[in-house]
């Protein structure tokens, strides 16, 4: 086994020789990220799978509302070489559709269902990806989109407990916090010999 930095170099060579990489980022000696075109994702993942990155570690999305785009992140994992590879691609936010990678990595089945549920990205080619998985009977826009307001949803749907009074000082005692601060000041004053 070679050391990890040359692993990153090797991965970069494999991908950059055959595909157009829009943005490359070496996150650490064990992680490298490539942003590629949407159409290249399937062939890159196939290439990586045949070169040893046999496990899909994670698949999720990031919402970029200013750029009106979703960013899909595929993380693949190699059991022999200590490099995680992230393949990123951008989708249009209005009609987010990405072909499923189910034939390449069968394990993506539930990740794609989850991404569909939380971001509303469609994955044709994955049968049943529109079925509910984690959120049951969801009745709003997908909740991990940036324009979803969880607090407004929570206020609307779940009744808050009401408290009549925040605090009542029944016997007129001095606050312990104030007494504590006064004591502290006094200690400091004594320690400094009466000087402020």
């Amino acid at each position: 086994m070679t050391n990890s930095m040359s692993n990153v170099k090797m991965v970069s060579e494999i991908i950059e020789n055959s595909y157009k990489v829009l943005k490359k980022e070496v996150i650490s000696q064990y992680q490298v990220s490539f942003e590629v075109n949407k159409d290249d994702v399937h062939s890159i993942l196939t290439l990586l799978k045949t070169s040893g990155w046999i496990q899909l570690s994670y698949l999720s999305a990031i919402d970029w509302p200013e750029e009106n785009e979703f960013e899909l992140v595929y993380i693949v994992f190699n059991w022999d070489k200590a490099v995680h590879i992230q393949i990123r691609t951008r989708l249009n936010r209005e009609n987010p559709v990405m072909n499923s990678i189910l034939p390449i990595f069968p394990g993506c089945k539930y990740y794609e269902r989850e991404t569909h549920e939380f971001f509303g990205i469609k994955f044709p080619g994955n049968p049943g990806h529109e079925k509910q998985l984690i959120l049951e009977e969801w009745d709003d826009i997908p909740p991990l989109r940036k324009d979803f307001d969880p607090r407004a949803y929570s206020d609307r749907k779940f009744v808050k407990r009401e408290y009549s009074n925040d605090f009542v000082n029944l016997n007129g005692e001095k606050s312990k916090q104030i007494a504590r601060e006064e004591r502290k000041e006094k200690i400091i004053k004594v320690r400094k010999g009466g000087r402020k």
């Binding site: 049951e136 009977e137 969880p150 949803y153 929570s154 779940f158 009744v159 808050k160």
Partner: protein
Amino acid sequence: MLSTKFTKLSKEEVDRKWWEIGDFFRRNSLWMLMYCTGCCAIELPPAMTSAYDMERLGMGPMATPRQADVLLVTGYLSLKTLRRLIYTYEQMSEPKYVVGIGSCTINGGIYHDSHAVINQLNRYVPVDVYVAGCMPNTEAVMNGFVDLMGLIKTKKANGWKDYHARNEWYMANQKAALGEVKVHDEFHE
């Protein structure tokens, strides 16, 4: 000579006496069903094992809801878990008691503004004892169990009766939060 005459008790009186006897045995041998949804569940191992030894209060863990007396809800409940919790609660045989542990069951705790987590547990199932804290320490949890025993003794742990009496209200709250209580997933169909 002692009189052998006795006044015949009414049916209500007899029932009340039998319930008192039942409550005595019940409160001294509580079987818990631990619905460990959240992080407060980490307080239960010290409460159960030799550090605080729950067994000296006569409490023990039970594996199925059908044979349990107490339902412990330890921590936050997402909508998905709440649906299963209601299933579990309705499977328990009566009388049944619910203990809510942690501030998440009281007012949502640190998840008060989350889209997935309910805020007040007692709107969906009746709660007899709350243990406040995020998370409560083990003494507080044990104290909560002692409180529950006291409530059973003084006949104030009436959550399960309330669930019958105000069933429409509970059902309406469950429906408002969950849409439909019935579970629809690939394991149930």
